[in-house]
């Protein structure tokens, strides 16, 4: 009971500390600015009347299908993938693309897909100083006699998650409101329902990347090195996986070291697959948390 209260207390303190610290301000401003920038990029062709909504949807279905083919590590080159989708060889992916673009608000789907690619790089900004900040300033020595290392880590992880979820919810809310008021291609009902579903997907996707940030924060004693470590790892995994896949196909599976390999299934038309993927994300987050916990408990502070 006492431990639970301590976790909540650490979470609250972390939230207030990160809002007052430069890293929290940078995280909020960067995430919202980049998120709204993504949305602006997606809305631009329709807003500036470069294409009609119908043309946009047709082109987007093709693009999304190709993106899914790349993300699901389909054999073949990038140029041939789009041809395979056009000739309906990859019929399942073509259907999936149409589900995201034609059955649901297209602009929201595309914005969420872009966010899914960019958020993993931005999320460590909200969690990199969790432990490393206190270790660097030696203030952790004053905390540890009053609390356990487990509650400290879990509390700060919870605080970082709450901060990230709040920022993502505000961002998603702004996008849905804007689409409903300024670009009403779809009704409010469809927008709100899909808005909640995609928000759930982003919330699940947040867990492993925030946990990775906390893990790097326990491994490295300097917050900046922790930030570089988590962002570097997040970016290096897909780069190495895709480049080494050219040499030997199974090396493409390195993508599964992080949720890069399966996160797109959070937007799958099959509800069971979505739930399973969300559980995988939580599991991935749990693995990172357990490693961080073991590391912190053994660390000489």
């Amino acid at each position: 009971m006492m431990g639970r209260w301590q976790i909540l207390l650490h979470a609250r303190n972390f939230l207030s500390q990160s809002l007052r610290s430069g890293s929290g301000v940078a995280f909020i401003v960067l995430t919202v600015t980049v998120g709204l920038g993504c949305a602006s990029l997606v809305f631009f062709p329709i807003e500036s009347e470069l294409v009609t909504a119908k043309e946009f949807k047709e082109n987007a279905a093709q693009g999304v299908g190709t993106f899914l083919a790349v993300a699901t590590l389909q054999p073949g080159k990038f140029s041939t993938l789009s041809e395979q989708i056009e000739s309906e060889e990859l019929v399942e992916l073509a259907m999936w693309g149409r589900y995201l673009v034609l059955d649901h608000p297209v602009l929201l789907s595309l914005t969420v897909m872009l966010l899914g690619l960019l958020l993993p790089v931005l999320l460590p900004l909200g969690s990199f100083a969790c432990i490393a900040g206190d270790v660097q300033h030696h203030s952790i020595r004053y905390l540890l006699p009053r609390t356990t290392r487990t509650s400290l880590l879990l509390g700060r992880l919870l605080g970082a998650l709450i901060l990230s979820w709040t920022v993502i919810t505000c961002l998603q809310g702004a996008v849905v409101m804007y689409l409903g008021i300024v670009l009403p291609l779809d009704g409010w009902g469809a927008l709100i329902t899909w808005g909640f579903q995609t928000l759930g997907a982003l919330v699940a996707l947040t867990v492993p990347y925030v946990a990775l940030g906390v893990l790097c924060s326990t491994i490295f004693r300097s917050p900046m090195v922790a930030l570089m470590g988590s962002v570097g790892f997040t970016l290096t995994v897909p780069l190495i996986a895709f480049s080494s896949r050219e040499a030997w196909e199974p090396l493409g599976n390195l993508l599964y070291l992080l949720p890069w390999g399966y996160a797109h299934h959070l937007l799958s038309p099959d509800g069971t697959v979505v739930v399973k993927t969300a559980l995988y994300c939580l599991g991935h987050g749990l693995i990172f948390t357990v490693i961080a916990l073991l590391r912190l408990r053994r660390a000489d502070l």
Binding site: S21, G22, V29, L36, S40, F43, S48
Partner: protein
């Protein structure tokens, strides 16, 4: 050397205000220049025809933009840039007037410029930037929340 007790967030806000001061100041100057060009063109179209074959100027003329409104927008931009610059010093020094009220006035000014730009500028220039306007509205709102909520005690009158 004594360690500063200024929260890192205030330093970050000061840096962001500095960045936004630059991004408000230059468009302000550009608008003042455009308004003077527009004014000169409206007074003597033939004399200035070959001097400025600017596409933006043509769209301003076609949209029948009032040069005085344009000038007002430019001056407002410069005033906001100045307020933001003052607030940078105020936030770094944790000064109540320059930090808290300089930032507040600058935030209101930034939001007003975005709104006035939509009202004054021709549709061709502002079409397709709706989400950018939301983005421009975000920072003033965030600044107000931080200054009047999170850093309320740090910027109180001493």
């Amino acid at each position: 050397m004594a360690i500063s007790d200024r929260p890192g967030g205030l330093t970050a806000l000061a840096a962001l205000n500095g960045f936004f001061a630059i991004s408000c100041g230059f468009p302000g100057l550009q608008r003042i220049l455009s308004s003077s060009r527009l004014h000169a063109h409206l007074q003597d179209p033939e004399a200035t025809a070959d001097r400025w074959s600017n596409r933006d100027l043509e769209s301003l003329i076609a949209a029948d933009v009032d040069p005085q409104q344009m000038e007002l927008l430019g001056i407002l931009g410069l005033v906001v840039a100045l307020l933001l610059a003052v607030s940078v010093w105020g936030l770094l020094k944790r000064n109540h007037w320059a930090g808290k009220w300089g930032s507040t006035l600058a935030a209101v000014g930034m939001a007003s410029i975005s709104w006035l730009a939509v009202e004054v500028l021709p549709t061709d220039l502002v079409r397709g930037v709706g989400m950018n306007l939301v983005r421009q509205m975000f920072y003033p709102l965030f600044l107000l929340i931080m200054i009047h909520g999170i850093f309320r005690k740090d910027l109180r009158l001493r």
